[in-house]
């Protein structure tokens, strides 16, 4: 049975830190290029939701039987973060939601596990990561934030494969090159040379074994990327692959940075988006061993239009001052607004209102068509009682009817930009805007909904929807 990729997307957050900004402040650190920066209202769960939404949007009728979320920087421990992704995607309750967590390798591992189980149904593999380190550290500059999602399925008329899984290999080894004690923010690394001496042979071993398993020679590989937090080792492995000139793909290190758990899938998404039908695409991930995954794009690739390509998202980014980056990452603490912090979310209220809070599902009066956001039992027009149908607006384009900038309200990153939206298909909702410059907002602007973390109180994250400008050519509707 042929198994492979039925849908795929990457998510690159809007903000960029120019690495030169680090040296400008500290006199040291930084480097060339830029890294992606998750907004203050994003975490691995919300970025995973965005990647998953993009992946599913381009595959009409996709019905995953399971959603897996892999990250080394989960929003919660103990509690399953994939359940939040599941709710935001409005998946039925019989869809399993599992976290793969802790180690950077869990992203590649989750994807390989899903690919290696033909007949196990359709699985949405979501990976996300937030990478940083202390100011001026190599991790701060080399790291990036992002997510990727791959819809793994058996080939079928309903879910034609964009890329068929040809095979791969995994090799494992125990050595301490990079580690982070449980509960700590900062990763630590051993002397760089030591890791390199382990990763280079591990990468070569996986490359050789994986190509053999896939029935390929290096010369038959059209696109390949080597990923890993050990940048020097990844470059050395890439140099030794023996592939044709031009086959080595951009690993996004100069524009996005290494997004850790998410990175193998993020570069895979970028490669599949750029590949034509019939190309061999491979990704080799170095993390406590090495994983090689090989694919061949199919004829169905030609009929597939990505919702928003990684390249478009990379190009649409906007710079963030280094000070904002440091405050968003909790490295510095600016004076908060002189307003009370919000109270923790009521779990029981959130649970009752799951479809609204996580799915942005309102209600539509069957007799008058009036759309209610949030859902209402009694109609605002005509007063019909309990005669409503659920109506989802998370994927609807909104138009700004009016807006304001609140410089006094509590926000983890003031000011709050707030707009009254009218949705295509009906419905009005006043909502916070994000990934936006206050000066750039106008009445009549088109915006799309995005799943965000509003704040955290008593350790409970308040997830809900905001709106952001529609930016990329394909991202508008």
């Amino acid at each position: 049975m042929t198994r492979g990729i039925a849908g795929i997307a990457g998510y690159v957050p809007y903000r960029r830190l120019q690495r030169a900004e680090v040296a400008r402040l500290f006199g040291t650190g930084g480097g060339r290029g830029a890294r992606s920066v998750a907004s203050h209202d994003e975490d691995t769960t919300t970025m995973g939701v965005e990647a998953a939404r993009l992946a599913l949007k381009a595959v009409p009728g996709a019905a995953p039987g399971a959603v897996w979320l892999a990250t080394a920087t989960p929003a919660y421990l103990d509690k399953t973060n994939a359940a939040t992704v599941h709710a935001a995607l409005r998946l039925p309750s019989d869809v399993a939601a599992y976290d793969f967590g802790g180690a950077l390798r869990s992203g590649a591992g989750a994807l390989r596990t899903a690919l290696g189980a033909p007949g196990s149904g359709t699985t949405l593999v979501v990976t996300a990561d937030l990478r940083d380190g202390l100011p001026t550290s190599a991790d701060e500059s080399a790291g990036g934030d992002g997510a990727a999602a791959v819809l793994v399925a058996d080939d079928s008329p309903g879910t034609p494969l964009l890329a068929e899984y040809l095979g791969g290999a995994s090799v494992s080894d125990e050595f301490v090159d990079r580690w982070r004690p449980a509960g700590e923010r900062r990763s630590r690394t051993w002397e760089e040379r030591f890791g390199e001496t382990r990763y280079v042979p591990l990468g070569a071993e996986a490359w050789e074994a994986g190509l053999k398993a896939a029935g390929l020679t290096p010369g038959e590989v059209d696109r390949v990327a080597v990923t890993g937090m050990h940048g020097r080792a990844a470059k050395a492995v890439a140099r030794a692959l023996g592939v044709r000139d031009g086959a080595l793909a951009d690993d996004l290190s100069t524009t996005v940075g290494q997004t850790g758990t998410a990175h193998p899938l993020l570069v895979l998404a970028a490669m599949v988006e750029e590949a034509g039908p019939g190309e061999v695409v491979a990704v080799l991930s170095l993390a406590d061993g090495a994983d090689l995954l090989c694919f061949r794009t199919t004829e169905a690739r030609a009929a597939w239009t990505p919702a928003e390509t990684v390249a478009d998202q990379v190009a649409a980014g906007a710079d963030l001052p280094y000070g904002k980056f440091l405050s968003w990452r909790g490295m510095v603490t600016p004076e908060p607004p002189r307003r009370p912090e919000p109270p923790r979310v009521s779990s029981s209220a959130a649970g009752r209102n799951e479809a609204w809070k996580f799915g942005f599902v309102g209600s539509e009066d069957r007799s008058t068509g009036a759309v209610h956001l949030p859902p209402s039992r009694v109609s605002m027009r005509g007063g019909a009682v309990d005669d409503m149908a659920p109506v989802a607006r998370a994927d609807a384009v909104g138009t700004i009817a009016t807006y304001t900038v609140d410089r006094l309200a509590y926000s983890p990153s003031p000011p709050i930009v707030f707009a009254v939206l009218d949705f295509e298909g009906g419905g009005r909702f006043p909502v916070e805007l994000t990934d936006v410059d206050p000066e750039a907002v106008s009445i009549g602007d088109r915006v799309v909904m995005t799943f965000r973390r509003l704040y955290t109180a008593d350790g409970i994250h308040d997830y809900f929807w905001k709106a952001r400008p529609a930016r990329t050519p394909a991202g508008d509707g």
């Binding site: 307003r339 209220a349 209102n353 956001l373 006094l408 909702f429 809900f464």
Partner: protein, 396 residues
């Protein structure tokens, strides 16, 4: 379905009002005792002669005990009232209806709020456990959306409209400067108002009401008994209240240029009082100027100006203290600040002074009209409660 009103059946026979200020040295109990003591003296009664009490506070305390304890009321019916920023008006409405019904001879409404003990700027709502999806905007931000919507609808340049709003603020500070009970007693130039730091949208600090502690109170009796207590009672002509359904927030037809709840309450109040031309019949109006665009739009909602023309009337000085219809001659929320539970009764207090000729001479309105209006709102554009009253010195 009917709104009959209680025109001329109930009279206010005594009132009191503290200075509104940052009363760092006074607690809620002090404010209550001060306002109540002044009011008992004003009506010439003791607390034992009052049969029932309604106490308005938004969030300075719960239950009637919050009033009964500081005043040491023993066994009286004391009810705490809350209805957003109309809380003070709502207390008087309840007391007046209680007297009109015949249930009591003498009833008292007390409104008080101790805002400045929170340690934060502005007003901050009581957190009620919720699902975390509700807006967390300030009131300033919600009302700031009115100005650009109004400018767009009526073709007013936004910079020109900013000047109109500044003039409203200027006017209310002019009036407040002449009022010993106001929080802010300085005139402020239009230039200073326009240059003040932005708070939300284009609204600056001087477009916003202040924040203060305060208390005010009134004693009401049946109209036929009024002259037992005072030679110059204020007869209640209308008490109207409208709560919106909140649908303005989610209804694409709402355009943020008016407050339907306020227009509805005004229509009802005028019907109760028999007023056909408020601009020509009213001696003055106290309105809820929480933010300058609010007062602008209210001039139209209350029928003082045609739709789309209030901005011109403001510039023409129509609502100045010496204009054809003085609005907020006491300085309004702008000069008084907004101790939520007290504000509605503070508005009544100004009608009590002005219609009886007891305002300080430098702000006493010269008029032969005998009717005055108070307007009090709570909530936000799209989700609002609105109160309108009319009082007068003559029966009939």
């Amino acid at each position: 379905m009917a709104s009959h009103g209680i025109k001329d059946r109930v009279a206010i026979v005594g009132m009191g009002c503290t200075r509104f200020a940052e009363h760092w040295d006074k607690g809620l109990d002090d404010l209550i005792v001060d306002a109540a003591t002044e009011t008992f003296a004003s009506a010439g009664v003791t607390k034992d002669e009052v049969d029932a009490f309604w106490f308005g506070t938004a969030q300075s305390g719960m239950s009637g005990i919050t009033l009964a304890r500081p005043l040491q009321l023993e066994g009286k019916p004391v009810t705490r009232v809350e209805n957003y920023c109309t809380t003070g008006s709502e207390a008087l409405r309840a007391a007046a209806y209680a007297v009109a019904s015949g249930a009591y001879d003498v009833a008292m409404a007390v409104g008080a709020e101790k805002v400045k003990d929170s340690g934060y700027q502005g007003l901050n709502a009581f957190p009620i456990p919720n699902d975390g999806t509700a807006r967390t905007l300030t009131a300033a931000a919600m009302f700031s959306m009115v100005a650009p919507a109004y400018a767009k609808k009526y073709g007013v340049d936004e910079d020109e409209l900013a000047g109109v709003l500044a003039r409203i603020s200027w006017k209310n500070h002019q009036n407040g400067a002449r009022n010993p009970r106001a929080q802010f007693r300085k005139e402020v130039s239009v230039e200073t108002i326009c240059a003040s730091p932005r708070v939300a949208g284009r609204l600056g600090v001087f477009d916003c009401a202040g924040v203060a502690d305060g208390a005010a109170a009134a004693i009401v009796v049946r109209a036929e008994d009024a002259h037992r207590y005072t030679d110059r009672p204020l007869y209640i002509k209308a008490l109207s209240f409208a709560a919106g359904s909140g649908s303005g927030l989610i209804d694409p037809d709402y355009d943020y240029t008016w407050f339907p709840e306020c227009a509805r309450a005004a229509d009802d109040a005028y019907a109760q009082a028999g007023i056909t031309d408020p601009r020509a019949q009213l001696a003055m109006a106290e309105v809820h100027d929480c933010f300058t665009p609010t007062e602008l739009v209210l001039m139209e909602d209350l029928g003082f100006a045609e739709r789309g023309t209030a901005w011109k009337e403001v510039l023409a000085g129509t609502f100045d203290r010496t204009g054809p219809l003085p609005v907020n001659p006491d300085g309004g929320l702008k000069s008084f600040g907004h101790p939520v539970g007290a504000s509605g009764l503070r508005m009544f207090f100004e009608t009590w002074l002005q219609l009886r000729g007891e305002a300080t001479p430098e702000r006493q309105i010269e008029t032969d009209r005998t009717l005055a209006l108070t307007h009090n709102l709570g909530g936000y554009p799209g989700e609002m409660v609105a109160f309108v009253s009319v009082v007068g010195t003559e029966l009939g």
